[in-house]
């Protein structure tokens, strides 16, 4: 599903590559934790998958498509197969929960009747069926992240990228978010989650890829966060 071959990413302003000759493969339906200190290259990795950035060297493939050779106008199509969740939720504050989710569908031209059908479905799935008409700032952090996950998942992406989705949440709420991500993973969606939260990594026992200064220092199935944290 995701494949990196000898990928190096060098930002012009910095001397050390953000990613240095990284190769890896992530299969369809996997649940992968991406760990490592700040600046280890996690965000760069996610940006490359979304083609927000191009690698300096090497090949990035998503769903068997080589992103290097993909033309600009095909990028939106790529992103429609991927969902994104962030630490800061990134909801539109002037839109209700339902409108936030509908927005993601409207802007990719989904017909209104599809939107009317799938928005309540996905809200029910994330456990917010009663809160469709609330504004984001009337919700708790955990609930806001559920809205963000609903928005990322509503278009049934092949891959869900989560960049520290529990970074702003307390452990109990985080647990709920992880159950939700697990549920999404069980529908066949590949989940890649960058995180610092060792409780979560240790308790889930999924594949762990650790980056250290741009290099893969560990790739372990059913791994833990590891020593020296």
């Amino acid at each position: 599903m995701i494949e990196l071959q000898h990928v190096t990413k060098l930002y012009p302003a910095s001397g050390r590559p953000a990613l240095d000759d990284v190769s890896m493969e992530i299969d369809k339906g996997e649940f992968v934790f991406l760990i490592g200190a700040s600046g280890s290259g996690k965000s760069t990795f996610l940006r490359l998958l979304l083609k927000e950035d191009a690698p300096t060297k090497g090949v990035v493939k998503v769903n068997d498509k080589n992103l290097n050779t993909m033309s600009k106008w095909q990028v939106p199509k790529l992103r429609r197969t991927m969902g994104c969740v962030f630490q800061d939720f990134r909801l539109l504050r002037n839109k209700t929960v339902a409108e936030n989710i509908a927005f993601a569908l409207e802007v990719i031209n989904k017909p209104q009747r599809t939107i009317k059908r799938v928005v309540p479905e996905v809200l029910e799935m994330v456990g917010l069926e009663g809160k469709a008409h609330r504004l984001p700032n009337e919700l708790s952090g955990g609930e806001q992240q559920r809205v963000a996950i609903a928005r990322a998942f509503v278009n049934r992406p092949l891959v869900l990228l989560a960049d520290e989705p529990t970074g702003n949440l307390d452990p109990e709420t985080s647990q709920g978010i992880m159950l939700l991500l697990e549920r999404i993973n069980r529908t066949g969606t590949t989940v890649v989650m960058a995180t610092h939260d060792y409780h979560i990594v240790d308790s889930m026992r999924r594949r762990v890829i650790e980056l250290h200064e741009g290099v893969v220092s560990r790739d372990q199935s059913r791994g833990v966060y590891g020593v020296g944290r």
Partner: protein, 294 residues
Amino acid sequence: MRVNFVLSEVVTGLRRNLTMTVAMILTTGISLGLMGTGLLIANMISDMKDIYYDKIQVSIYLTDDVTEEQRAAIQAKLEASPEVASVIYETKAEAYQRFQEQFSQQPALIENTPQDALPESFRVELVNPERYPVIAQEFPEGQNGVDQVRDEGDFLDRLFSLLNGARNATIAVAVVQALAALLLISNTIQLAAFNRRNETNIMRLVGASRWYTQLPFILEAAVAGLIGSMLAIGGLVVTKLLFVDKTLAGPIRSGIIPPVDWSAIITISPIIAGAGIGLAAVAAYVTLRLYVRL
């Protein structure tokens, strides 16, 4: 394309930066108004050229004591000349009548001019207006009843160079204003894009097409361009009604200045609107491409 979505984004965008939008519309309007004025002057110049150049190119004024024979000889010589396309003879009375028409706005001038002050003349149209010196040579001034040979084209050239200058100055100011308008549009669009960065970021991540993301901004600029061009057209209409039709009524009636027809304004209105909308949209598009990541 979800029309409602795009339109509501456009209206929100224009309302959010109201002061910038007003500035953008006003500069665009002034620029386009001046451009329209320049086009109208250009129209007027070509109308005037038709009026004047068609009439006469060379006038041969006769002395007061010209004899019948001398007059006949001049006429015969002109009619025989291969350089001459047509000849009109104008008596003193006709000259005075034309003078009265031309200066109908200045009755004092007419009153102070004796009926026979204006000389009789031959009005000569040349086959090639630039061959004036040949005619001048054939009719030496002060001989055989010829008082003066005047190249009216020369006077017209000076008149038209004045009008051309006015047109060029108007268009130059229009261009400078247009530059200001384009920069304002660019700034407004950057501001609008900044205000809406949350929306556009999300659109980008969920895979909205570039076009879908950019269209509201481009339309926002185009709508401002449209309003600006309507202001400009309104300005031209008001100028015609209040200035051209009132202040210049006399010279227009006596045929010195051609009137500004509604048809001229109707002809240039789509040009103004097209230029306003087109330039604004292109400026917005270029701004988005160069300065804004969508």
